[in-house]
Structure formats: C-alpha cells, structure tokens
Symmetry: C2
Subunit: 356 residues, 2 copies
C-alpha cells in the first residue's frame, strides 16, 4: 500500500510503498480517510524533532488522522465505524501512565508517538490500532475528523489550566491566544464560545486570511509588531487566560505580567534553547502577589479526544471552510506540505467516506 514518510536524513516527505498492516488481537484495521498536517510534521521532516522506529530508516508521518473500520478483527468495533486514533503508544508493554489512561502525562522515554517518534504514523492507506486507542466519531464528522487531534490538545491544556484555578471562585471573562496558526485559530473558535472577549496575537500584516478568520469570529486581532505581549494590558486588557501556541520562548515570561490577577497561562510551544534577560524579581513577585499560574501541557488522552469530538461538532461550517485551506489527494500530497501565508490547515486524503 501507499504511505507518506520521511527517510532518515532526507528532510522531505515522500511516497513509499509498504506492506498493508495486519491487526493483532485487540486491534482493528482502519482504512484511512484523511490525515492533517501541522507544525510538528514539518519539524519531524526537517529532523528537528522525533525519529524513526528503532531499527528502521524511515518514519511514516501523520498523527492527525480519521479513518473507517475496514476489519474490526476481534474488537467490538463494526465495519464502517468512523474513528480517530490517539497518538501515544507504550514502548515496551505498558506503564502506569497508559494503565491510568493518561499517556499524555508520561515522561520522555515512556511513550512512542505515532508519526512523530518511535512509531509509524497514520499517513498510509491503512493503519492498525488497539480499540482502546480509537475514539468513535459520528459519521457526519468523518471528513473533518482530522481536526479532532489538534482540538484535543487544547481540550487538555484548558482542562489543566481550569484545574489550576479550581481552588477558588474564578470567573474568567477574557482569553488571549498567542499564535494564529491552525491550532491557535481552532482554539480561538473554541474560546469564542466560552469567554466574553477573546484576542488573538500574530505577526501578520493585513490583508491576511488568518486575520479575516479572527475577525469573523468576533475576536480582536493583535499585531505583535504594533503591540508586543507586555503592552497588551494597557492597549486592550489583561486577559484572564492566555493560551500560548507560538513556541516563542519569551511569551511565557511576558505573559506572567500580561495576565490579569488570578489568571493562568497555558503553555504549549516547544522552542529550542534561547538565553535572554528577564526581570525575574518582578515576574516572581507578580506571580505571587496576584496568585497567577502557569501550566505546561503536551499531548492529550482519550477523554480529551472525546471532548474534542463535541467541540468539533460545535464549530461553524463557515469557520471550518475558512480554516481548511487544502485537501490533497495522495497523488498530489506535496501540496499539503507547502507552508506559506495562504496555508492554514491542510490534509491529505487517502480515501473517501461513503455512508452505508
């Protein structure tokens, strides 16, 4: 069967011919519908992040997948069920994080990530997965199911951020998303339903399609060239929640000051090393005297995938159609990996869903 992978050192995605997988006991065989592309894929392709399974010289890409059960094997799934796979798998048997159904909390070395590190991804005509790591989707979401994984990342981050504020009566009114990539925009659309006022920071100039989306969500675009994070409280307002999806290493530290009293920052970016100066005394004092919190968050678990299915179904068709800028058939998959200012969210289509 055909698959999209990256050979070690090649630094580009290419079409590979590999054997069709066979499900083990407890696993189903899934026919892939669509697989989304995100920044992590670009990092994996460039070699900056992740790596092939032990003993192999290539990695099948893709961690944002939706598919249809082709062969339930000995699982309780049925042929034709629409499913989304979670990403993390245990490296050697299981461990307590997987046993708790919280693989997202496993430290490095205690997980593989399909399509990212140590395990092949879902960019193939078929993949197999344990039933316990497949989340069911209503058939009407089959074509958009590749958005469940990124949305689940936000579900987890927000769940953890809200938990950090659960020891007191917290009534957040405003939220700021740092970053206008596809994850930032998905998050903004979710936040628009949950907060009175939302803001999204980016560094693009008008005209720009992401700014159009931000404004169509009745959110306020903040151009970081005009208003860097530390100036946001004065120019706009001090947000109760800040969601960082830029990977810009100064943002968490700048956010400590920008947050409203009792506010929380959810940090999601994964930057490289960068040494810079901060007024650590001021930030420390600000954290303490205003009861602020910072919560780092990575990956997501089955319950957060399930919450993401609900969130996905609540997003408007017009938002989704603005967000998804390209669905590429397998023979033109390279288009899905182009990353320019007109690209927001692309996916590769391996097959089409036909309701039985």
């Amino acid at each position: 069967m055909k698959a999209i992978g990256v050979r070690e050192g090649a630094e580009r995605a290419e079409l590979l011919e590999i054997p069709k997988p066979e499900p083990d006991s407890g696993e189903a065989l899934i026919r892939t519908l669509r697989v989304g592309v995100d920044g992590t894929d670009h990092e994996v392709i460039s070699g900056a992040h992740g790596g092939a399974p032990d003993g192999e010289d290539y990695l099948i890409l893709g961690h944002e997948a939706v598919g249809v059960v082709e062969d339930p094997n000995d699982t309780d799934l049925a042929v034709g069920d629409v499913v989304v796979p979670t990403v993390r798998r245990p490296p050697n048997g299981s461990n307590r994080y997987f046993d708790n159904e919280e693989p997202d909390m496993a430290p490095e070395g205690q997980y593989y990530e399909r399509g990212i590190v140590g395990a092949h991804g879902f960019m193939a005509e078929y993949f197999t997965s344990p039933e316990s790591k497949l989340v069911s989707l209503p058939p009407e979401l089959a074509e958009l199911g590749f958005l469940v994984e990124p949305i689940s990342i936000t579900e987890k981050a927000v769940e953890h951020a809200m938990a950090s504020r659960s020891a007191f009566e917290w009534s957040p009114e405003s939220a700021l998303v740092l970053g206008n990539g596809s994850l930032g925009l998905l998050t903004l659309a979710m936040f628009e339903q949950r907060f009175d006022r939302t803001y999204c920071l980016g560094r693009r100039e008008r005209p720009d399609p992401t700014i159009d989306i931000i404004e169509s969500l009745d959110s306020t675009y903040i151009n970081s060239n005009d208003t860097p994070v530390p100036e946001i409280p004065e120019q706009y307002e001090a947000p109760d929640l800040i969601y960082e999806a830029t990977g810009y290493a100064k943002h968490p530290f700048e956010s400590i000051e920008a947050l409203a009293p009792n506010g929380v920052l959810a940090a999601l970016g994964v930057p490289g090393d960068w040494t810079f100066e901060i007024n650590g005394g001021k930030l420390h004092r600000e954290l303490v005297l205003h009861n602020k919190a910072i919560v780092g968050s990575v990956n997501s678990n089955v319950s957060q995938f399930e919450a993401a299915v609900d969130s996905l179904s609540s997003l408007s068709d017009s938002f989704i159609s603005d967000l998804v800028t390209g669905i590429y058939e397998l023979d033109e998959f390279e288009g899905a990996f182009v990353d320019d200012d007109t690209t927001i969210k692309n996916a590769v289509q391996f097959s089409t869903y036909e309701k039985r």
Copy 2:
C-alpha cells in the same frame, strides 16, 4: 493601652500608648495573648513593604495573632473563646472577593492587611475584629495560636498547587522546601506527614539549629552553597512538589528544571526587581514537554485558617519547642524583633491564657 508600632520613617518598632478599641456591631473585643514576628514585619519596619492607615503616621504591627474574647459584643462568640484573626479587610465596604470569603484572591487596592498595609495590626493589648474574620481554636492551642496564620499560608499554597495537578492522577512522593526560615520549617513539618521524602534547602553551615530541626524531622538538609537548585535532581532527586519560601528571584526559574515530570512549584516569595539571564527556551520546553506547573500564592482565607488549626494540632511538641525560640513579654518586646542565626520564630506575649 500599650501597642507595638512603627512610626512613619522611624524604621524601628516602638511601644506606643493608644486608646483601647471599642467593637462595632458584629465585632468582638479580643484580649491579645501572643503575636508572632515574621519576615514581613521586618520589611514593614524597614519601610520596604506596606504602610500606615490613611491619614495616620504610625502602624500598629502584627498579623500573626491569637487572643481571647474579652467582650463578645453582639456576636455569637463567648467570653473566653480562643480565636485567631485573619489578616485581610475590605478597604471600602466589601467587594466580591470578600463576599466570596476569598479575600486572599483580591488584587492590590481591594484589601487592607492588618499590621501590614492600610490597617492597624494585632500587636496591642486588645484588638477588635468582625466575628466572620475570627477562627476558633481549641483552648489547648491558645499558646501556639500565633502559628496558625503562617501555617494557613502554606495550606493555601498547597491547596492551589494540588488543584493544579487535579486534572490527572498525581501521586507525589517527594517535596522540596526552598528556605529554612520559620515558614519553611513549619511547611517542612507539615510535608513530612504528607510526602514519603522531603528536602529543605538553605544556605547555612553546620552547626545550625535549623539544620538540627530539619534532621529531627527525618528530612534531608541541602546546603545551597554545595548544591544549588539546578543540581538537586542529580545529587538527590527531582521533587514532585517544590515550595519556595526564600524570595530569591532565581528560584522559581531554576525550579522549572529541578521539578520531576508533572511536578508543581508553589511560589510564595516576594522579591524586589532583579534582572538576570535565563535559558528561556529550555525552561519553556521543559514546562510543556513535562506538563509542569507554577502556582503563585499569597495570603489565606478562613477555610485555610481552619485547616491550619488542624495542622498545628498535628505537629509534635518537640518540633514546636525547637521552632519557637523566644516568647517576649511586652516590656522586653525588642527581643522578639532580633533576627540572627539563633532566632527561628519569636512572639510577643501581651497576656496569658487562663482556662476558666
């Protein structure tokens, strides 16, 4: 009546003669037993923190008090009840933080702090307080009630830190207290009951009475001159919880790396400005990839004072007797404000408790 206060600009505590207060409706008149001295008092005396009530040129000190109801007035208290007052009061009528019984979450400007900023403290022969801001104490704790307020500070910080880890199954085993002052030691004694392994970092050399206390608690003393925070994971272990009570501005940032995966830092110090370099990219990445959290915490509310009463009653007599290095009568109160290497926790005694 006699009181201990600081006149504006005087930078020293002195004995003052002021009128005995009269309780308003809803308030009781309390005869003061003992009032503890802590680092905040020294900051207030030096003028670095806090300030006198509007229109007055002196501030009565003291925010760690225990007393006996002298006149219940129109409250439901009874003569002889042992009580501890909370610290924050609303500046003008009430506000939503006080209405929610969470004045500890009020931002600056929405609270006074008795003995610290904007309102007179408890270092006087008598004080008045609304009944709602008095926490009852069993008579057998009357002499130690001045420890309830500092313990409540830890109750709140730990409550918020635990809340931040409540979105997943967290089983912390080890805790590190940064700082071997009286608050650090009280916290360590509480942690010794809650965690399998505890550590306390200080910069003192042996022989030292705080190191003796740490070891009598079966905890491990870490000398920061030998093992700075970033080296603790390698030399000892990466702690699940770090409690910062040093006010040393580098500690929160160093703690991000030192924490175990999924760990949390409770920050309590209030340093002045200090600009220094950090590898912000590394810290950002570490926060995210290991799901770490930082929670700033200040002050405490009635429910945390109540929890502190329980915690105080669980501490051993030998620990308390090592911790409390001096109880000074009013005519020798200056001794309570001496801050040298033999001082751990001092209090001024205004009157004695006699069980009826």
